[in-house]
Symmetry: C2
Subunit: 574 residues, 2 copies
């Protein structure tokens, strides 16, 4: 491809509304342009990179035995009524009424549709296992789209769905996808980490997210400084602390006045203690019934964990309920002296506190000298909070660290949530009917591209891995005329014939402009064809990532370059 | 691929709501399933075929120098306000308000978006010509989707847009697309005809449609029985008739009472003449001014043609205007005695009538013995009507024939309609600004598939051309076990290694079931591996299209089959 024949609108200026490096570079290198909030046009270079990522995904899906289909964007509301998910998505669902006044949903995901297809076409155990996938545009009405293509309203997903006879067979389908994900991200040149993820209170016995570590990521990765343990923040567990060798002083509980001091920080400041000396006591409701949760004052309750121990989704209690359960208005709850009829769930970290401060279950008062176990029961001791840096690894006890990551993939054991709701069943060898056991598996294809740019770029611009590069070689005649252009044209033909994807910068522009653009768009190998080199019979081959330059005899250039391209691709896909 | 690993839900029953052969076969062969009105899921075989068509389109677009991009489905209403097309599309536009209460349009086409991209990224003549294309899902809220994927609400389009300095450069871009279309449809194994098409009153100096002749088509193709002339019904012209050798009798005009006889058929029956003896006189309005149009009683006015001679869009006049122009209520208009201030456009076929019947421009009356030229002026003699079978070819005068076709592609010279409206301009060598001259070029990818099935299938099922076939070879062990299965597995591996796309029917099913399904899904070459053949060291190679069977030594089978596949692909792409 010739530069003047395609459209590569590079920008010198840094776009003012782009916070992230990847977003800025995608705009500056002419990969994308914003059309409307959270919707980007992919220009030629960006689209080539995105298609390469999609092809790697497709290749590995096929290799893993998944079968490609294509489901519509338009989904009838009836299917979502069957699954009961309209409310789960709420305002994130894009939908409209058509000329027949029927509600059409723009698919944010396709569990309902694929389950509908399978319930109508699969009836026998002989047809299982079956994993269907598609690579398709998805829609979510994000209220605040941002970070370029990382959080947009329209995006390209690979979504796969497995259907199996039982949980054991699901394990195999899940593992096949998991393994494929590892190959996909490796082939895309990404450094990634697979972390345990929260699978939610309903269905889902296992779930992992594939994260690309990056300060730009919105997700938090919790990982052990010593062993392999890694989880996302929702899921991560801390090792339960051991009781301190020196047990705390057996001070008596004493009520103190804390007029209008309702928050942890207010109370700590008022009493001259640290937030970690306080017990945070929260009242939740699960299935209409109240429950009380205690975590240390400097910790945050993880409602997913509360939901798991409570056995269903939870929400914060309203003021009336808090008053009823604690006998006090909001802000003065404590674990001591509560009715035994209301379950009291205590986080491990609270159990080793001593002489703590808690709400007094009375207006404008707290108590000091609270000792867990002595002053309130520890029957329901569990993991109820988000981990913090320095917590112990649940596997080995070493320190946990917290870092940012970009979620590029997610694998998920769904169980029978959708097959039960929609009635997707098969008959076994004996004619007995069973719900199919499902898994689902997503990859954000746009995020692969943004992650690669975010993590591999340098100050001068994008640095593509060979597998995603829009072109493999950039041919730059220093001047686009005369013998330089003629030599470049010859090499262009040779390389193209050898199957190398070449971009020829045939612009009538200064060398400095071309070199800056070359660094910006990040083609892995650049070949400078200049008069001085030609006089010596050589071209300069420059590695974008390292900046290393090699002088290569013109006659060897094609073979050398083609070999280098092959070697780099092979290194990513051993 | 193994049959049991993919999803091919063939149906014995003919779906009751599918009118067309292609629709029935796509359902029966398990290529598609309907999700909701006008939206179909593509199952594995259907999706493979659709992707093959898309890849052929992509390949030829690239070869023609077009550059691939990807524009969002979601389009902001503001752009459509700039182009003024909201009203043109009316209820066909799918749209919704997002969380910020902004109207998002689901793109039915992308002229606005691509022009917006180009106005923001192209500024110099050095960047032209530029042709951008995408292969992308489109949306139209058809009130009555039908014929399966031929008229649906969600469909896959290739849309390309060219940007040029001037009309001459547009000619070259247009021709490159036209030539690519010819290669695309030929490679897809389609019989097609390129017909002149109506380009509409605004912009557009040339336009052609690519039609696949088929009784199933909704479009009408007018073609000459002798020369190459072909046009769609909107555009087709008839040769102007020569004055008859024997001019009509010079009867006098006579008014006759025709109480309440307002339609052509009513008047003809009432007076005992043929509809072709009547002059149909219609009053239109163009830009607020009335005009009168006359065609023969058995002909229909083509408003596109009226608009072209009138110089703008036209609509039928209301009753008041008709009364004012003709002096009579609706149903009694005639061309004679009208004010010279109102233009009178007369179709060629009217000019050679003699002793005709026309409305009397008086209530409940007609006149007989009307002679054009004598009784009303023929200053504006033109082509104003739809052609009918038997009309003369405008090129050679031979009879025109009318047949049905499926429109699979459309190329269109837009001119500066969108570049003017959105301000897409470039600077020439002298720094002067000009509007870019645009063309647009569409292909309905789903229609390629449906057309191939519609026109090539036989009573037993689909007959794929090699280029679109989901798999190139179907391997059918008569029994899926023992030596037959072993031999099939070996051949499967050999063929796959040789790059042949093979479907292995590994189902534990009766041979009759497998053979029927094989004919239904239409893989071009089937290889039967049976015990009897193996005893002789041969397999049976059956051609799906002709039914011819050849016995091929097992050892030669792989090379023979791979060669046959290559030869068939080459025959479609010489």
């Amino acid at each position: 491809m010739r530069w003047t024949q395609t459209l590569i609108p590079t920008l010198k200026e840094v776009p003012s509304d782009a916070e992230l490096r990847s977003h800025r570079l995608m705009l500056r290198a002419g990969l994308i342009r914003k059309l409307t909030a959270g919707a980007y046009s992919y220009l030629p270079l960006g689209w080539r990179a995105l298609r390469k990522a999609a092809e790697i995904v497709r290749d590995e899906m096929d290799r893993a035995g998944a079968v490609e289909v294509h489901m519509p964007v338009l989904q009838p509301q009836e299917l979502w009524d069957e699954s009961g998910r309209m409310d789960d998505f709420g305002p994130l669902l894009m939908k409209f009424r058509d000329q027949h006044n029927k509600v059409n949903i723009l698919g944010p995901t396709h569990e309902e549709v694929v389950t509908d297809i399978v319930r109508n076409t699969v009836s026998s155990y002989k047809q299982l296992p079956l994993t269907l996938y598609q690579i398709q545009v998805k829609f979510r009405d994000e209220i605040r789209p941002r970070f370029g293509v990382l959080r947009s309203r329209e995006f390209l997903m690979k979504d796969a769905y497995s259907f199996d006879r039982d949980a054991e067979a699901l394990d195999a389908s899940y593992q096949a996808q998991y393994d494929a994900y590892e190959r996909i991200f490796a082939r895309c040149g990404l450094t990634y980490v697979a972390v345990e993820a929260e699978s939610g209170p309903i269905g889902g016995s296992a779930s992992s997210e594939f994260m690309v570590p990056s300060e730009a990521g919105e997700d938090l990765i919790v990982s052990c400084s010593s062993c392999e343990y890694a989880a996302n923040m929702e899921k991560a567990a801390a090792k339960a602390p051991e009781a301190p060798a020196d047990p705390a002083p057996q001070r008596k509980m004493t009520q103190v006045d804390t007029p209008d001091q309702r928050t942890i920080d207010d109370v700590a400041a008022f009493l001259g203690v640290r937030p970690s000396d306080l017990i945070k006591t929260m009242v939740y409701v699960c299935g209409g019934k109240p429950l009380v949760v205690c975590v240390r004052g400097d910790h945050d309750v993880n409602e997913n964990k509360v939901a798991r121990v409570a056995g269903g989704p939870v929400e914060l209690a309203d003021e009336d309920t808090i008053q009823r359960v604690t006998g006090a208005p909001v802000g003065f709850a404590g674990p001591q002296g509560l009715s035994r009829d209301v379950p009291l769930y205590v986080d491990h970290a609270v159990s080793i506190m001593a002489g703590a401060v808690a709400g007094a279950n009375a207006a404008d008062a707290h108590v000091t000298g609270v000792n867990p176990g002595r002053d309130f029961p520890l029957d329901h001791l569990c993991d109820l909070r988000y981990v913090v840096a320095g917590d112990g690894c649940p596997h080995c006890g070493a320190d946990l660290a917290i870092s940012h990551g970009i979620e590029v993939g997610h694998v998920f054991k769904l169980g029978t949530k959708y097959s039960d709701a929609l009635g997707a069943a098969y008959l076994d060898e004996n004619g007995a009917s069973h719900a199919m056991v499902m898994g689902c598996y997503g990859i954000g294809v746009n995020r692969i591209i943004a992650s690669a740019i975010e993590t591999l770029a340098d100050d001068a611009g994008i640095v593509w891995p060979m597998s995603l590069a829009p072109y493999q070689v950039l041919l730059t005649p220093i001047r686009a005329k005369g013998e330089e252009m003629a030599a470049a044209e010859t090499l262009y033909r040779e390389l193209t014939d050898a199957g190398v994807e070449v971009l020829l910068d045939d612009r009538d522009a200064r060398a400095g402009v071309k070199f800056n653009d070359a660094d910006l768009v990040g083609i892995p190998i650049r070949v400078n064809v200049g008069a001085r080199g030609l006089a010596e019979g050589i071209v300069e081959v420059r590695d974008r990532a390292t900046g290393e330059v090699a002088k290569v005899p013109l006659g060897d250039a094609c073979a050398r370059l083609a070999g280098d391209v092959r070697a780099r691709l092979a290194a990513l896909n051993p």
